[in-house]
């Protein structure tokens, strides 16, 4: 029953969404652009562009490592946002969601942050450590700027699921298991039950993240949810090609292998 179009009308699909995650600047800004192109070609519907942070409390070791590489390449919140026009220039036209911890946003200032997002054509924003109760000002600004503020629900959200789901915009980020980001072996039956419950309340497409790392996971989740968010697995694929990606002559082939792997994952 999802009727809402979103991301300034750019997301027209509301099912079988594939939402991959990249850390901007991992391992360099240029390579991020090239990886994003591949992801779009492999069928990505929305790109989650992560801003590296010194203290990423919601992230597991894989994304921590990516953030470290990106910070070393000089990335920041401003630069990550300013990477979006570069992505556009290079043909990435799916909606882009900036994933950032709250502190860098606070340093820019809420208004300036949204101005930047708007100016650079960002369609959405996702702040993992800004829960519903702390986000009213940011959500309001997001509405004003017509930028989707993505909310999270978790298995522990319980009574709050309904409240959050009903106000969800863009898509609803459903944290499939307790814990931080990272690959998981199994998807427990409670997860599917939890997804069903969330879907019952949500106006927006329900995308499931945290731990999705195989094609089987993807297929199973897509039967219950409207989309999958894949983060750590994508980072792991990049890590496998890290040396090649950083070598001019080897890069093309590495990108190609990355593309094949991602395609297999979501086929």
């Amino acid at each position: 029953m999802l009727t809402q179009t979103s991301f300034q009308g750019k997301l027209t699909k509301t099912q079988n969404l594939f939402i991959p995650f990249l850390v901007a600047g991992d391992p360099t800004p240029d390579i991020t652009v090239q990886l994003a192109q591949k992801l779009q070609t492999a069928g990505a519907d929305v790109l989650e562009l992560g801003v590296p942070y010194s203290d990423p409390i919601a992230d597991g070791p894989t994304i921590q490592r990516a953030a470290k590489r990106a910070l070393e390449s000089g990335m920041s919140l401003t630069k990550a946002i300013e990477l979006v026009p570069k992505l556009r220039e290079n043909g990435v036209d799916i909606p882009i969601v900036i994933f950032t911890y709250y502190n860098p946003v606070l340093q820019l200032g809420h208004d300036y942050f949204f101005e930047l997002l708007e100016k650079n054509g960002v369609e959405g924003v996702l702040i993992p450590d800004l829960p519903y109760e702390e986000s009213s000002e940011v959500r309001e600004l997001a509405l004003n700027y017509d930028i989707e503020y993505i909310s999270f629900v978790a298995p522990t959200s319980e009574a709050r699921i309904q409240q959050i789901a009903e106000q969800a915009r863009g898509f609803l980020y459903c944290v499939s298991t307790l814990g931080v980001t990272g690959e998981r072996h199994e998807i427990a039956p409670e997860v599917l039950y939890f997804i069903d419950k969330v879907k019952a309340y949500s106006q927006a497409p329900v995308a499931v993240g945290f731990g999705i790392s195989t094609n089987e996971h993807v297929r199973l989740i897509q039967q219950h949810a409207d989309g999958v968010i894949i983060g750590s697995k994508i980072i792991r694929l990049i890590e496998e090609e890290l040396d090649s990606l950083l070598t001019a002559e080897a890069r093309e082939q590495a990108l190609e292998r990355f593309y094949v792997q991602v395609s297999d994952l979501v086929k």
Partner: protein
Amino acid sequence: MTQVYPDAKGRYGDFGGKYVPETLMAPLQELERALDDAMDDQHFIDELHQVLTEYAGRPTALTFADKVTEQLGGAKVYLKREDLNHTGAHKLNNAIGQALLAKRMGKKNIIAETGAGQHGVASATVAAKFGLSCKVFMGEEDIKRQELNVFRMKLLGAEVVPVSSGNGTLKDATNEAIRYWVANCEDHFYLIGSVVGPHPYPRMVRNFQRVVGDESKVQFAAAEPSLPTRIYACVGGGSNAIGMFYPYLEDDVELIGVEAAGKGIDTSEHAATLSRGSRGVIHGSLTYLMQDENGQITEPYSISAGLDYPGIGPEHAYLFDSKRVRYEAVTDEEALESLKLLTETEGIIPAIETAHALAQAFKEAKHLTSDDTILINLSGRGDKDMATLMNHFQEEV
């Protein structure tokens, strides 16, 4: 004033709040309910009081430091002796409170972060005493530097989990503890070691530490005709300071929190969060912190591991902005000098953290008169710092 904050959202003015992943919102609400319920239950209050008295050895003494007083020639100096608390610092007051609460909530496992190991030892201690399992997250760098406390925690039966992310120090250990909690919040209790973290931690820890100030008020009244002129405490996360200050907030007493200026607040090596930091979010709370222009949290420095934290409790941020408490910063050198002075004159070797409070107090006491009285929170003993002190003083002594 004591009624005014934190508000229902855990705000001290602008500061505080709950900046945590969605997964933790429910556990925090559960904690808040359990805490309110416990603090309303006379049985819990009695049990807490009994453990503090019969196990931790409270009340800790109030000592008139006659020799320091004489040497400084100004205000009369009193010391609140948290160094005499079991395990050697104020940290245990809070650990006992939270462990009793964990037990009451039916949580059999506690997790804790530690830098120098003081809070880790306190947590391992209460875990042993109350029959809880205990995991202490500790940066790999700190594990190397604090071999003795690591061993102590293990001897107490705790598991010490090495944290290699970031710089492998306290901030990273805290991040990792939060991550572990996110994944295991259903049956784990996160025992935070200072008045930091998301609501209701800053309030809870303050309430478990206010026993320091409450006791001192009674003891001081027995020793002197009026309240202290000034009260000093060192500030890392801020738990010993708020524990001491809180009961005096509405009194006509000057309160001074002392941060670590490390090698000087004009260098890049210090931990003077209020003196030099800016607003931001760290470990779930809006407060002051040390960060770069991009909002990346920076690594602080202090010779004292317990003050070497880039943030500060949100209540202190509020008390700083509202000017109810004055915050000063003291360098490594000044702290060590005062440590030596107290040791030689009073026969008390304080923790290096504590020595920061001493340094500021001694500086100011000289300019006060013998009608003035000052009270210093002697937050802990220096036994844990012997290796550092040996390095520093070996030639001198």
